[in-house]
């Protein structure tokens, strides 16, 4: 069996800084913002960050050897 995928990294604790559209998109894509690295100042999360995170998350299993 392949090695278990690396445990997700929690990037944000407490107050999560995300713009309104990113918060909405995260709910739509079922993404937990606590795990999304924000590219803005203070780790602010933008729409693109949520998209990138969710793409990575869906690609990760496929990339892992069977």
């Amino acid at each position: 069996r392949a090695a278990a995928p690396a445990a997700p990294v929690k990037h944000n604790e407490g107050r999560i800084l995300a713009v309104p559209a990113a918060r909405q998109l995260a709910r739509e894509l079922n993404v937990d913002l606590a795990y999304v690295p924000g590219s803005g100042p203070n780790g602010r999360i933008r729409v693109a960050d949520v998209l990138a995170f969710s793409q990575q998350a869906t690609q990760a299993p496929a990339a892992a050897p069977a």
């Binding site: 800084l17 995300a18 713009v19 309104p20 918060r23 909405q24 998109l25 709910r27 739509e28 803005g40 100042p41 203070n42 602010r44």
Partner: protein, 467 residues
């Protein structure tokens, strides 16, 4: 198999919460009805936000017509036709409530007229008809709280609804019981229209919940304009006599009692959620001791297909909160990823100067454990404010010390409510004081004072000496 209902969504109450919910639900393709027993538009359009702002504008114009003497414009033979004033105000209300009815039609929302009461968790009775719905949104709003010992007759002892009807002649002596937003808006209206106005407040501060510095500047400006203010004072009793209403006032600290005589008394001590005749228990919906129907961030009550929004759901009892929650409920029902996740809900007192704020007060921020920096910029240093003859007040910005993240903005000044747009967006976008300071603000605008307050946080405001 899914059961079939008359409607996908049935909204109870056509106030701002309810009509926003109904219109958004319809926009999203849901078959929607909205029940209203009194007047489309609810408290906000009929007896709240809108008619008060109309009267505030009128009062403000009386004031500005006097102030115009400063630049050489004087008027003689001033006359105010009270009938016309009330009519103008009602005309605006009619235009807006008619607008909402029109929007219901255009969006194909079925308006059901009458008192709604639950039969079961999918069935609501309106008059002698019953209607079923897959989802129900409770948006029944709130009503004025009453004061034992003081009976509202809507003539000389009024609540906010009665106070909207400006009497002819304007009352000579007026007492506002309650120094909150509503109390002060009416105090300001009647003061400008010529009444001798006093505001009493039970708590040690007026506009409880607003930032202490902002409230101090606000109170000072109100007093400068002639409104008397007494805090830690309560009204025990009011008795109508030939020479006016005799009100027994009590100093809460000393217990000392005095009787004062007024021509009109306004009771504006708060509002309470309204569920009379609704029978929510028939649907199994929880109601708290204080009468609220609690809801989660998706506006769901304890019964998952029944939602509660607006004043009936929770404080603060504000129209824009009701609107937001209405949209959230409708979108959740339509399967959208909506949530009431607002970072902050703005508050405004529409006097002149206005008091407006969004986000944490300095005290709240400290209570929550933030280390804060603040920046203040007075309108006395604003060129635009000078040209508008309105230099009382300031912008106060509260920022987290290490991160520079904006926590709250508190404004006393001209058009303060207009400046909340930027402040509110800044909070939602997790902006820093630096973001605001680096953004070009048009000159000469009042908004520059927001920029200067942000600069003041860093001790780099230009138009004041930073200390």
């Amino acid at each position: 198999m899914t059961k079939s209902y008359d409607f996908d969504v049935l909204v109870i109450g056509a106030g701002p919460g309810g009509y926003h919910a109904a219109i958004r639900a319809a926009q999203l393709g849901l078959k929607t009805a909205c029940v209203e027993r009194e007047a489309v538009g609810g408290v906000c359009l009929n007896w709240g936000c809108i008619p008060t702002k109309a009267l505030l504008h009128a009062g403000e114009m009386v004031h500005e017509s006097k102030q115009a003497a400063d630049f050489g414009l004087t008027f003689s033979g001033t006359s105010l036709n009270i009938g016309k004033l009330n009519g103008w105000k009602e005309g605006i209300v009619k235009k807006l409530t008619g607008g909402v009815s029109g929007l219901f039609k255009a969006n194909k929302v079925t308006l059901l007229t009458g008192q709604a009461s639950f039969v079961d968790d999918h069935t609501v009775k309106v008059g002698d008809q019953t209607h079923t719905a897959a989802n129900i949104i409770i948006a029944t709003g709130s009503e004025p709280a009453t004061l034992p010992g003081i009976t509202v007759d809507q003539q000389v002892i009024v609540d906010s609804t009665g106070a909207l009807n400006v009497p002819d002649p304007i009352p000579g002596r007026m007492l506002c019981i309650g120094g909150g937003v509503i109390g002060f808006e009416f105090a300001h209206i009647y003061n400008n229209l010529g009444s001798d106005v006093k505001v009493i407040e039970f708590l040690p501060t007026v506009i409880p919940g607003a930032d202490t510095d902002a409230v101090a500047a606000f109170r000072k400006s109100m007093e400068k304009q002639g409104i008397k203010v007494a805090t830690q004072t309560k009204a025990n009793r009011a008795e109508k006599k030939a020479d006016g209403v005799h009100v027994e006032l009590e100093d809460v600290k000393t217990g000392a009692k005095t009787v004062e005589v007024y021509d009109r008394v306004l009771v504006a001590i708060g509002r309470r959620p309204r569920t009379d005749g609704l029978n929510p228990e028939k649907a199994g919906v929880t109601v708290t001791d204080r009468g609220f129907i609690p809801a989660d961030r998706k506006q769901r009550t304890n019964v998952p297909h029944i939602y509660a929004i607006g004043d009936v759901a929770s404080n603060p009892m504000l129209a824009h909160k009701a609107m937001k929650e209405g949209l959230v409920a409708a979108e959740v029902i339509a399967g959208k990823p909506a949530e009431q996740d607002a970072v902050a809900i703005p508050g405004v007192v529409y006097t002149s100067p206005e008091l407006a704020w969004v986000g944490l007060t300095e005290a709240e921020a400290k209570e929550k454990g933030y280390e804060v920096k603040t920046g203040n910029f007075p309108f006395a240093a604003s060129g635009r404010a000078m040209t508008l003859q309105s230099t009382d007040g300031f912008v106060k910005m509260i920022v987290e010390k290490d991160t520079d993240l904006l926590l709250g903005v508190h404004i006393v000044g001209p058009h303060a409510s207009d400046m909340l747009g930027e402040a509110g967006l800044a909070l939602e976008m997790a902006a820093t004081a630096t973001d605001i300071a680096l953004t070009i603000h048009a000159h000469p605008t009042l908004g520059e004072s927001v920029l200067e307050a942000a600069e003041a946080v860093h001790k780099q405001a230009i138009h004041i000496v930073n200390r």
